[in-house]
């Protein structure tokens, strides 16, 4: 299981920043752009795929739950690098009312198969398992999920 930790301290270098309309499907735009931004920075193919999945899931949450699929409210994405840490920050305007990390039951496949849990609810679970660190912050209405992946994480490739 991924540790929940703060982004690495220091002076991060901003690699990219962009916004997306809060429309279903735009998470694919986010993952493609982030993948292009971090390409060549030392992430293995497997870890790049994990980061892409985490970015897509976090962006989908921001679009659907944070901004309520209201296209006029943008999802903001920022990609930074600090040493070997690549961090993607994804912000919506859901405020404290929406915090996907709080109070959600860990998905249990057997319970889902037996009807004890809804089949859904995998998003945050996937995010946590895809990246090296995840943090959620709220500043007024601004709700941000920080996803950090380290470029020197070969050992992590072999065990998730």
């Amino acid at each position: 299981m991924t540790q929940v930790a703060r982004p690495a301290p220091g002076k991060p270098r901003r690699l990219d920043t962009f916004t997306l309309a809060s429309e279903p499907g735009n998470e694919r735009l986010a993952l493609a752009r982030v993948a292009g931004t971090v390409k060549g920075l030392g992430l293995s193919e497997a870890r790049l795929e994990r980061l892409k999945t985490a970015v897509a899931e976090a962006t989908m949450n921001a679009i659907e739950h944070g901004n309520g699929n209201r296209a006029e409210i943008p999802v903001e994405v920022e990609v930074t690098q600090d040493g070997d840490a690549i961090t993607v920050a994804i912000s919506d305007q859901g405020g404290e009312a929406y915090d996907a990390s709080a109070g959600s039951e860990e998905p249990d496949l057997l319970k889902k198969l037996d009807g004890g849990q809804t089949p859904r609810g995998w998003g945050l679970f996937l995010i946590r398992n895809m990246v090296d660190a995840m943090q959620v912050t709220t500043d007024g209405q601004r709700h941000t999920i920080w996803l950090t992946m380290r470029t020197g994480g070969a050992a992590h490739d072999e065990h998730v």
Partner: protein
């Protein structure tokens, strides 16, 4: 950039193969459930004991797609049918492991190997 999920169903003795393509996300719900229904309805000569999900032409699966696969698996289990899968990339095989789907769905590298085990 995005491609809608499509499904083609064909029958083998005692089994059905659902060949999926495109993206398995929320928009795939009707396609996947319809394909499963076609799979289990389509052969009146012999009960369908195994459903093969072929992901060889799928380029994206998200958490909602995982939920759809869970729903298909739940229904198959309730109907005492086996579900196997093939054609998953290494990344999605890992996601099947993390979610424990691979505890309930046997995974094969490709359709040929999935089909060959049906005879055993």
């Amino acid at each position: 950039m995005t491609s809608m999920c499509e499904a083609t169903t064909r029958h083998l003795p005692g089994a059905a193969v659902i060949e999926l393509s495109g993206e398995v996300d929320g928009s795939a719900a009707a396609v996947l459930t319809g394909a499963y229904q076609n799979a289990v309805d389509g052969d009146s000569t012999r009960p369908i004991e195994t459903v093969v999900l072929d992901f060889g032409a799928v380029d994206y699966i998200n958490s909602t797609g995982i939920a759809l696969i869970v729903s298909v698996l739940a229904r198959a289990r309730a109907e005492r049918r086996k579900v196997v899968a093939c054609g998953l990339s290494a990344h999605y095989r890992e996601i099947f492991d993390i979610t424990r789907l691979s505890d309930f769905i046997e995974l094969f590298p490709d359709l040929d190997q999935a089909v060959s085990q049906l005879a055993h």
